[in-house]
Subunit: 333 residues, 2 copies
């Protein structure tokens, strides 16, 4: 079903206010969840609202907490998320990184003790909307094995790289696992194998069977040993720069909270890129789109179709699973 954008916002605002968020923060939180579904990423949008409310009920996310700046080093600030709402903390961190970039050319915010930011791409779109190059990443609980390992030790640590462009921003939003557990579960329910190798079976062989992968939490790192290495160093950077928990510590509680995140912004204007940035990006994309393809597929750059989907859903309503929507509505006070 598709629900008008404003109706979704109003419903979520009411619910979040009833959980203790003040009106302004409830509205922003509602917007961040709705944005994800609007942009075609329901798995990290409306589908997650019940999970988020459950985290609040368990007191793992505190609606009353606000992030606090701990230290300031000019272009760089370290913040404590105080276990507040992950999307609000992440949005505030990127906002600070943007402001610092506008002042210094580069801005970096590291936040410790925060929570799941839901859709990673939101913060990339936030940076490019402000005209900045934005890079951010988060650690997660352990959910992928090291190369050769038979138990999860690495997080899938989503990484966002967003580049502003007049004719359409470029926003890469990728986790370090080939497929999310959400996607694995979708194929499992449909009784299908994954379209590509997606993890390891009990003997350590690559497999497309979602059941085997889910049973052992052995999702495949992108590029096998390469993505495993990249995931490890992203976790290291997040933990040492924020001073917060690493993936192995996040995993100790059995719940996914108390994460570490990094937000980096560059202001093209301050770095003298204005003269050529749009032209160079257009030329790269034009060449890319001229690629000959198998079966006349279209090649797409990261973020290419998001605006089309967003516009369409803004007109036709935010897509939401009926069961999810009725569950969300049951939370209306």
């Amino acid at each position: 079903m598709q629900v008008p954008y404003l109706e979704v916002l109003q419903v979520l605002e009411k619910i979040f206010q009833s959980k203790g968020f003040d009106p302004k923060r409830a509205a922003l939180c509602a917007q961040l969840f709705t944005q994800a579904s609007l942009d075609g990423v329901p798995s990290h949008g409306l589908d997650r609202v019940p999970v988020f409310l459950e985290m609040i009920r368990k007191k793992l996310v505190n609606p009353l907490s606000e992030a606090q700046r701990m230290e300031s080093y000019g272009f760089f600030e370290r913040w404590n998320g105080n276990l507040g709402a992950g999307p609000l903390n992440a949005h505030q961190s990127m906002e600070r990184a943007i402001l610092l970039a506008k002042e210094f050319g580069i801005g970096m915010v590291a936040i410790q003790n925060t929570n799941h930011w839901m859709r990673a791409g939101n913060y990339g779109w936030q940076a490019v909307a402000a005209g900045c190059i934005g890079i951010c990443f988060t650690n997660t609980k352990p959910n992928m094995p090291p190369w050769g390992g038979k138990e999860p030790k690495l997080g899938n640590n989503p990484l966002v790289i967003a580049i502003p462009r007049s004719k359409g921003h470029v926003v890469l939003d990728m986790a370090m696992s080939q497929f999310s557990y959400g996607k694995l579960n979708t194929y499992l329910r449909a009784g299908k194998d994954m379209p590509f190798e997606a993890g390891f079976d009990q003997e350590g062989n690559l497999t497309k069977s979602p059941a085997e992968i889910i049973a052992n939490e052995l999702a495949l790192p992108i590029g096998l040993w390469k993505g495993a290495g990249l995931s490890l160093v992203l976790d290291m950077l997040a933990a040492i720069i924020s001073g917060g928990q690493a993936t192995h510590q996040v995993g100790e509680s059995g719940e996914e909270y108390g994460l570490s995140q990094i937000f980096l912004c560059l202001d093209p204007e301050k770095l003298g890129l204005e003269a050529w940035i749009d032209q160079k990006l257009d030329e790269i994309i034009q060449d890319f789109q001229r690629a000959e393809t198998f079966n006349n597929q279209n090649v797409r750059y990261p973020g290419e179709y998001t605006l089309t989907i967003r516009d369409q859903n803004m007109r036709e309503g935010v897509p939401v699973d009926e069961i999810v929507w009725s569950k969300i509505q049951s939370y209306i006070p």
Copy 2:
């Protein structure tokens, strides 16, 4: 065969001096090529010396050129490599990024119009030796297809992330292709299939056959569409921040020269990380190494064995293929 480290250096210095490098730059260039083989990466070390000399002969690499600073923005500098020797330009760029990081907390150098830096990891080891977190990447000629594409449009754009640690630095050095063309050729010569899917066949299906992949330059991006996206945005960042050529422009000449590279450094001391950086890294690595494995394999963090290999080769001699070594010696004036 294994040749004493100092002997390799002396041979290369003589050759490079005969090509026009002044003694100091000839010595550094010799050291950078030798370092790669010493650390167990001959494919980007001594094996490449004849290729490098051929690039000089073709006047694509100019031994007399030095990089020039074009613009300076405090923590950020833009340089022109003037088509000089790639390893020297890259080393000088990382050296500048280190100095800027020691002054500002962060340092960034973008260089345009430079050449192949040979072993990417060298510049990561350079950063950590100076106590800095170092991140660098380069674009390349097109050598991988976009997702769905049947022709190369993306570079394999190596990325380095290096983190200093008292008990052993962490240095990730990875190209965006699952296997290098060097590795594909090694398996082709041995008449073997690759151990994992490594590219696309003529119908666009994944294949382990090196012959089919090489014939069409359809090497596999790590993580399929994900690595393809990451490669594209790294090329965009390299080109727009340096103001230099993007991968598609590098590809126009049929030769791989005139590249764009980014070097980013963070000084842990300036960012207040000294109190916990070593402890956090040790804890992450200890947990990682405790992973249960299939077949009692060891899990390794990126860079773990490099120092062991380096020490061993320093004692026993730099490993070099006999044919390569005799070819190199033929260049001694």
